[in-house]
């Protein structure tokens, strides 16, 4: 049971970011042709979607992808 608990937490954590995890995996695959494990992608969601500036590169497990945070509300009708 003790061994299963972290796995359960990880599953919930991944599920709550499911779309974003896939986005990170896809971005790394497209940029560096690298298969990023979902566990690593889940841990990188904050870095790729929150603490970066749109239009700047972000290092995810040695691969530089574009920041996935959208630049919203800056240009009308964009």
């Amino acid at each position: 049971m003790k061994k299963g608990l972290p796995l359960l937490i990880l599953l919930f954590s991944v599920s709550s970011h499911a779309g974003k995890v896939d986005d990170v995996v896809t971005a790394v695959k497209e940029k560096c042709s690298k298969d990023l494990p979902k566990r690593v992608a889940a841990q990188s969601v904050k870095k790729a979607f929150l603490t970066c500036n749109p239009g700047t590169p972000v290092d995810i497990d040695g691969c530089k992808i574009d920041c996935l945070k959208k630049n919203e509300g800056s240009v009308i009708g964009n």
Binding site: L8, N53, T56, G73
Partner: protein, 436 residues
């Protein structure tokens, strides 16, 4: 007995809660995420400014001043429908602990940027409604401020609809964006934006601003522009070409009140301004993956006075004047250009940047919202700005900068024709910014 029933109930409730399958709990999470339509973000910026003024003439006083300031804002976006999005921002700007100061410049078009104390102002509140994929209606308080190259200083993405050297105010209005991308290549948008000025007065005996009987309460203001972006080229990650025509029609200048001895004299106004701003803007972002950004903006301005002017009779002068000219029907044309460059130095977290502004004596730009205190982008003459930013974290930065403004002319506004000057303003500043 009562205790047993309570224990039994607790056990049943506990069992039913834990009896949820993982799928059910995931579903609940997904539903909760769907119902939460709001997204929040924000920023906090602290400033330290040291400003020195040298007037260059013996009759005027040189001066030095220091200030500490705080700007903060909360952004809140919502997606109530797939095709309707809302963007809002509440913001405040203030000097630290202001006491006995007189630098508040509160006006609707700059309220949140006026160092107006701890009051929070509405800086942005608008919706985008996608009638078609290529046709979007926007309305509300629009993001007309902080255009390129404002974002270079802290290494952020484009922050405003208009370029910096287009029109320096926060504006309310309605916009229509037509995306022409499918016809003309990548990401070409045509926009028209209507942002009327108002001077409402609704009393029992008068429903406009003036006592002259003129209906001066409304001014049509509109902009039309083309905004073309070509992304991921071998030259630059993004190339932006932007052309805008902005017209302010018949903007009423209200009656003026001036001190005359122990009384206040009223100077009747029959003066309206027609202002035009034509902007050409080219930007190259991240040239050849070098981290270098480069932006050029050229602005033509025209100030045209209309009416019989401001009547100076009540202060003993039998004349009327206009805005930026003595003639109530006078016109002045000016222009200026701004070159801005920044360099993100590898992955060191350092950004180095410089700006150079040059304008003629009749340059008619004004600067109501910028971070600087000395109207840098409105300088008549030349302005130089250099800065170095260190990204402590990607969105947590410390900037040290120097601005120099060498004026060749200035105007006092009403009745003020150009006056030659050797005025110099220099600013050393530190800026600490966090966006989250």
């Amino acid at each position: 007995m009562k205790l047993s029933i309570t224990l039994l109930l607790s056990l049943l409730i506990g069992l039913s809660a834990s009896a949820q399958t993982i799928e059910e709990r995931v579903e609940e999470l997904e539903i909760a995420r769907t119902l939460n339509i709001f997204k929040f973000s924000g920023d906090l910026t602290l400033f330290y400014d040291g400003i020195e003024l040298e007037n260059g003439t013996s009759s005027e006083v040189d001066d030095t001043t220091y200030s500490t300031r705080l700007w903060a804002g909360i952004n809140f976006n919502a997606n109530p429908y797939d095709d309707v999005k809302f963007y809002g921002r509440l913001a405040v700007s203030k000097f630290f602990n202001e006491a006995f100061g007189s630098e508040e410049r509160v006006a609707d078009t700059s309220a949140s940027r006026s160092q107006a104390g701890p009051q929070v102002y509405l800086e942005k509140a608008y919706f985008d409604y996608s009638v078609l994929d290529s046709l979007i209606i926007s309305a509300g308080r629009l993001p007309t401020s902080d255009g390129v190259p404002t974002n270079y200083i802290t290494g952020q993405a484009r922050m405003g609809t208009y370029p910096r050297l287009a029109y320096g105010a926060l504006l309310d209005g309605v916009g229509l964006t037509y995306k022409l991308g499918s016809l003309f290549g990548e990401d070409l948008s045509f926009r028209t934006i209507y942002t009327p000025f108002n001077a409402p007065t609704f009393q029992s005996d008068i429903i406009n601003k003036e006592t002259t009987g003129n209906d001066d309460s409304h001014s049509d203001t509109y902009a039309v522009h083309l905004d073309w972006n070509k992304r991921d080229t071998s030259i630059a990650r993004n190339i932006n070409v932007f052309v805008q025509y902005l017209k302010v029609s018949d903007l009423n200048v209200p009656d003026q009140f001036v001190g005359a001895g122990n009384t206040v004299a009223v100077l009747d106004s029959d003066l309206a301004l027609n202002l035009t701003y034509l902007t050409y803007h080219l930007e190259l972002e991240d040239i050849a993956n070098s981290g270098v950004n480069l932006a050029f903006s050229y602005l033509q301005t025209k100030t045209a006075n209309k009416g019989t002017g401001i009547d100076l009779t009540n202060i003993g002068t039998s004349a009327s004047v206009g805005f930026n000219v003595n003639d109530p029907n006078g016109e002045v044309d000016g222009d200026g250009f701004l070159v801005s460059a920044s360099w993100r130095v590898g992955s060191s977290g350092v950004i180095l940047g410089a700006e150079y502004l040059s304008s003629d004596d009749d340059y008619g730009y004004f600067d109501l919202y910028d971070w600087n205190l000395t109207n840098f982008y409105a300088t008549r003459g030349t302005g130089t700005h250099v800065y170095a930013t260190y990204q402590i974290k990607p969105t947590f930065t410390l900037t040290a900068g120097y601005r120099s403004q060498d004026y060749s002319a200035y105007t006092t506004g009403l009745g003020g024709a150009d006056t030659d000057t050797d005025r110099e303003v220099t600013t050393m500043y530190l800026m600490n910014s966090l966006t989250f």
